[in-house]
């Protein structure tokens, strides 16, 4: 029995197999409509996350399975002080697989160590969110048809953005990948990430100017610059617009650029870009569901 807590637990081959399954689901949805008949997914969401929870639930329903769970800790026994370990043991008696979102880092790992069924980490605080990375990878695969020889720009909050760090760790396995980190100085990519890229001879550059780097990107991965990350309001006001993607900033962009964003968006991508064929962020949501379907099949060992 296997769980998925951190994207690094999957080998490159396993990720490619999941992508292959997701492709097959997209092409032959009827073939998968009853694969999980009689199985139950428990969605244990100790903090609200509409998108991720609905994605898991839709994934299980499309596999013919059923779903039970809760969407905030107030409606769970955690409100009475139950430990994560006890919740995991209890829920294992009701469900065949668990998807857990928790505000505390490491909570899904504790659940996996105690559950009698596979546990999928659906986000633990600012720590890990492996199924978002799987969604990102399927999006890149569908849009670009390859992972090799891509120039990937990451823009916004690169210091705290967990989706950025785990996508980097997944993409760095492929040859010829180049990273461009675009962020204000306050939110630069951490030194340990850069040091490990240098150690492995992976090419990267850093800039504070999104427009000047735009023409080099095959993929632009946007994230939100949050007000609370700044030390002072003035600095935030000065910088916030530099990292908002507008049609003007896309003038030098490649015609085959793919614009991605883990969502939810606040204002960092102008709504007028949504109709641009290069905008992929809503497709990313759809691909997320297919990757979660592939992952549920893998962890439940359904052929």
């Amino acid at each position: 029995m296997r769980s998925l807590i951190d994207i690094s637990e999957l080998t490159t081959k396993e990720i490619e197999e999941l992508i292959e399954t997701a492709d097959d689901i997209i092409n032959n949805p009827a073939k998968y409509a009853h694969k999980c008949a009689g199985k139950k997914l428990a969605t244990l969401f100790f903090e609200p996350s509409t998108r991720t929870r609905l994605s898991f639930e839709a994934a299980m329903y499309e596999l013919g399975g059923n779903v039970l769970g809760f969407s905030e800790s107030q409606s769970s026994s955690a409100a009475k002080g139950e430990s994560v370990a006890d919740t995991a043991k209890t829920v294992s008696c009701y469900a065949d697989i668990i998807a857990m979102r928790h505000p505390k880092e490491g909570a899904p790992l504790v659940a996996a160590m105690n559950a009698g069924v596979p546990v999928i980490n659906a986000g633990d605080g600012g720590h890990n969110h492996p199924t978002q990375t799987l969604a990102d990878l399927l999006t890149i695969h569908r849009e670009k048809g390859r992972f090799e020889n891509l120039t990937v720009g990451f823009c916004g909050d690169l210091k705290f953005g967990r989706t950025v760090h785990s996508l980097i760790s997944a993409l760095r396995r492929y040859s010829g990948v180049r990273f461009v980190f675009v962020s204000p100085n306050e939110l630069k990519i951490p030194d340990y990430v850069k040091a490990s890229l240098e150690r492995d001879g992976i090419s990267y550059s850093e800039t504070t100017d999104l427009e000047s780097a735009m023409s080099s990107f095959d993929i632009l991965y946007m994230t939100r610059v949050q007000r609370e990350r700044f030390f002072n309001e003035e600095e935030y006001l000065r910088l916030k617009d530099s990292y908002i993607l507008t049609p003007e900033k896309l003038q030098n962009a490649r015609p085959d650029l793919s614009i991605m964003h883990p969502l939810p968006r606040v204002n960092e991508i102008s709504v007028s870009i949504d109709s641009d064929p290069r905008a992929c962020y809503f497709k990313q949501v759809l691909y997320g569901k297919y990757m979660r379907m592939a992952l549920i099949l893998k962890l439940l060992e359904v052929e």
Partner: protein
């Protein structure tokens, strides 16, 4: 300075000078009834000076703690006055309840009964990270 030979027990040798007291307290040697000698700043050909701990009882010591504090220590097992086993210590892969995670967002901060577990993330630089939240041990 001379300290009596021990008959059955353990000698922790080649402790980096100055670390003896820390090992003594982390191993809880103050709670033992038997004779325990902590000898500091002993002249050493190899190390210049070193600390030594002699425990005059056949007890189990937690080699994980020793390995974390000072992996160059040698553990000598003494039986009937003879050195019957000489063990070198390695950096342990896992430490349980030796280091404590200080990250307030870690699950170990709210769930009191969870053991604090750190794993060796980088042997070369001796970096340990919390099993749950991966915060680096300070």
């Amino acid at each position: 300075m001379t300290v009596d030979e021990i008959k059955n027990g353990i000698v922790l040798d080649h402790i980096t000078a100055g670390k003896g007291m820390k090992i003594y307290s982390l191993l809880g040697l103050d709670r033992l009834d038997c004779s325990v000698a902590l000898i500091r700043n002993v002249p050493s050909r190899k190390m210049g000076k070193k600390d030594i701990i002699k425990i005059d009882a056949d007890i189990e010591v937690n080699t994980d703690i020793i390995g974390y504090i000072d992996p160059d220590i040698t553990v000598n097992i003494i039986k009937d006055g003879k050195n019957v086993e000489k063990k070198s210590i390695e950096l342990p892969q896992k430490l349980t309840n030796v280091l404590f995670c200080k990250n307030p967002r870690c699950i170990s901060a709210t769930e009191q009964e969870l053991p604090h577990v750190f794993t060796l993330a980088d042997r070369e630089n001796r970096i340990y990270r919390c099993l749950y939240c991966e915060t680096k041990a300070k």
